[in-house]
């Protein structure tokens, strides 16, 4: 996973509340076999609306998405995180997230930043014309107009994101403990090894 310390650029001022996983990626995209290319299905229904922010050339390639409360509610599908990642989103700033979504986002190296609605309103305004800067180390979001919003993040998640550590990699680093457990298991329950016939 890529390490993140700073995310800078134009932010997509989406701003909606209760963006559920069906909006992020419609169910028909669940029958895929790869994470790549899922960005094409991202916000498919919103993109049918004339003048939507996702097709505005102004925000092409933006690494940040701004939304309202309860972002990522609905199903537990991880495809929502994959779709955002494939769109090039590295961070989502919202006034609230569903737990499952933020955990899925984290597992896929996407930074989720929760800020009060007043901050969201201000960032929406700035994003119309100017870029936004996120600094994970100092846990702050700043704008060229001297705005500065600080955010909270779980220290473990911060550590993982800043060092590009994924959970699988972290656990693999504990290989000794796993191997020791397996040795003990072989001694105590040798019969539990599956029979190959």
């Amino acid at each position: 996973m890529k390490a993140i310390s700073k995310v800078s650029g134009r932010a997509i001022p989406f701003g909606r509340k209760n963006v559920d996983t069906d909006i992020i990626i419609p169910a028909r995209w669940l029958k895929t076999t790869t994470r790549e290319g899922m960005g094409k299905g991202a916000f498919e229904t919103v993109r049918r609306e004339a003048g939507n922010v996702f097709d505005d050339p102004e925000y092409a390639g933006s690494p940040i998405l701004i939304a309202g409360d309860n972002f990522g509610c609905g199903s537990s599908r991880e495809h929502a995180a994959w779709a955002l990642l494939d769109m090039g989103i590295a961070a989502v700033i919202a006034s609230g997230f569903s737990d499952i979504f933020s955990s899925n986002a984290f597992k896929n190296g996407i930074l989720t930043i929760e800020l009060p609605q007043s901050a969201i309103d201000r960032l929406m305004e700035v994003s119309m014309t100017d870029p936004v800067d996120i600094d994970l180390d100092s846990q702050s979001v700043t704008t060229p107009f001297q705005d500065r919003f600080e955010f909270q993040i779980d220290p473990f998640r911060k550590h993982c994101l800043m060092n590009g550590l994924d959970e699988v990699g972290m656990t693999m680093a504990q290989d000794d403990a796993i191997a020791t457990y397996e040795e003990r298991l072989m001694l105590e329950k040798p019969w539990q090894q599956p029979v190959m016939r």
């Binding site: 669940l30 029958k31 895929t32 076999t33 790869t34 994470r35 537990s76 991880e78 994959w82 899925n104 597992k107 896929n108 473990f156 994924d166 959970e167 699988v168 990699g169 656990t171 693999m172 504990q174 290989d175 403990a177 796993i178 457990y181 397996e182 298991l185 329950k189 040798p190 019969w191 539990q192 090894q193 599956p194 029979v195 190959m196 016939r197």
Partner: protein, 472 residues
């Protein structure tokens, strides 16, 4: 300290305990199917990682496979028409050998729904931890395994490390004493339980089913009950292994043999909740209160005895439940006060990991013998849970009972349990189904589902409406 069965299994699987309360838990068995695994394998490939214990992993396709003939008259596999389904199947067929995982092909006789195949092959063992990228993994708890569903990231994590990072759940005991009445099946019991504790009643808990009713129940019945633990919100369900469990497992292809078997059984006998162990929650249900049960709404908690009526949404105390019930009734096309036995059905589905084993098919056939499909019923699908169940049923002549009644006898798979393969219920039409979820759109967009036992589904097929099997 006396421990619950869940605590014993948990403690025996801790690889590393962390200060924040999470623990690295060893996973003994991993079932893989075609829907939740492709991106997990892709993740491994991208990171150049291997499957740590391919020997503890078993792959079988089930969700997408059509239940029509798999091979043509020459025995050649028939390609799957839907390109997305075909791609998911092809991915599993490619990934399993690439990562050295045992793979049961769609055309093998052992193929079936993962949760039917695991116990049937003896892949599921008491006291093991078992996971699968599917929420109904809870079923395997019927054999005394700690079994639960996981997401795709976790599938990848287990493939790579054979462990999961978890927080311990709370424990709940559901005790059912007495004896189930005539015509009352394990499915009715579990629907009754979900109706009693609610679809979120088990949130954050692992449920242990205890009491004389479960002791008397067959393993297949226990699988039906444990399977639906997730519909009560629980992470897993578990039933202490006993002589019935050992008799069920003995001689199955993947269970220990000879002296190993004896050692295993000696260990399994210790897998019970200690006297004096404390559960975080305890629920007691009197078996005599359970009647043949059906759902009327779009949550598995929306249950009523078959002799009952469609409830009035205003009869619920909670205002949010009132609104939800009204929405459910609108979707289901039902009016308050209607007798459940007056509800006509156009479709019947007997199958799914909840009710597709041989005892389920026998119970259905017992109702059907000498009767035929009602005129208003458009389709009746009988979908055995595995090729082995299908074979056994055919040996017993059950297939002929169904076919003579005008039902369709299909190949094994998830089928109409979820609208992912060609077996769907058309919008606005009603289905009596032995599956586990009556969610909006679960059996196809706009489909209306009533969850019932296999015997009740069979009765609906021959009468054309929801029916009390005790009156048939």
């Amino acid at each position: 300290m006396p421990k619950t069965l869940y605590e014993k299994i948990w403690d025996a699987h801790v690889v590393d305990q962390r200060d924040d309360g999470t623990a690295l838990i060893y996973i003994d068995r991993h079932l893989v199917h075609e829907v939740t695994s492709p991106q997990a394998f892709e993740g491994l490939r991208m990171a150049g990682r291997k499957v740590r214990r391919a020997d503890l992993t078993l792959a079988v396709p089930d969700h997408n496979v059509p239940t029509t003939a798999r091979v043509d008259v020459q025995g050649k596999p028939i390609p799957i028409a839907d390109p997305d389904s075909a791609a998911q199947l092809a991915a599993l067929e490619r990934n399993a050998p690439e990562f050295g995982i045992r793979y049961i092909r769609a055309t093998d006789r052992e193929q079936g729904i993962v949760h039917v195949v695991g116990p049937e092959q003896g892949f599921t063992l008491p006291g093991t931890t078992l996971v699968c990228g599917d929420s109904h993994t809870a079923a395997h708890g019927a054999l005394g395994a700690l079994a639960f569903g996981i997401g795709t990231s976790e599938v990848e994590h287990v493939l790579a490390t054979q462990t999961l990072l978890l927080k311990r759940s709370k424990s709940m005991e559901i005790r059912v004493e007495g004896a189930l009445g005539p015509g009352v099946t394990p499915k009715d019991l579990v629907l009754h339980i979900i109706g009693t504790i609610g679809a979120a009643g088990g949130n954050g808990h692992v449920i242990e089913y205890r009491g004389s009713v479960f002791e008397e129940m067959s393993i297949e019945g226990r699988l039906t009950v444990s399977n639906m633990s997730i519909e009560a919100g629980a992470r897993a369900g578990i039933i202490a292994p006993d002589e019935k469990t050992f008799a069920y497992l003995k001689g199955r292809p993947m269970v220990p043999q000879g002296a190993d078997w004896d050692a295993a059984v000696a260990h399994w006998r210790m897998l019970r909740t200690d006297k004096g162990a404390v559960f975080d929650a305890s629920i007691t249900i009197d078996a005599a209160d359970v009647e043949p049960t059906v759902t009327w709404g779009t949550s598995p908690e929306d249950v009523v005895p078959i002799g009952g009526i469609v409830p009035d949404p205003m009869s619920f105390a909670d205002p949010s439940k009132q609104a939800a019930a009204q929405k459910s009734l609108d979707y289901m096309g039902l009016a308050p006060g209607m007798k459940m036995t007056d509800v006509p059905v156009e479709h019947v589905f007997i199958g799914s990991c909840t009710n597709s084993r041989i005892e389920d098919l026998r119970a259905a056939a017992d109702i059907v013998r000498g009767r035929t499909k009602a005129g208003n019923v458009k389709s009746v699908l009988i979908v055995p849970g595995s090729g082995l169940v299908k074979y056994q049923a055919e040996r017993e002549g059950l297939d002929r009972v169904f076919v003579e009644a005008g039902f369709e006898w299909r190949e094994p798979g998830c089928s109409a349990c979820l609208g992912m393969n060609p077996d769907k219920v058309p919008a606005g039409e009603r289905c009596a189904s032995t599956s586990n979820r009556n969610f909006v759109g679960r059996q196809g967009p706009g489909a209306r589902t009533h969850l019932v036992s296999p015997a009740m589904a069979a009765a609906a097929a021959v009468t054309g409406r929801l029916t009390d099997i005790r009156e048939l």
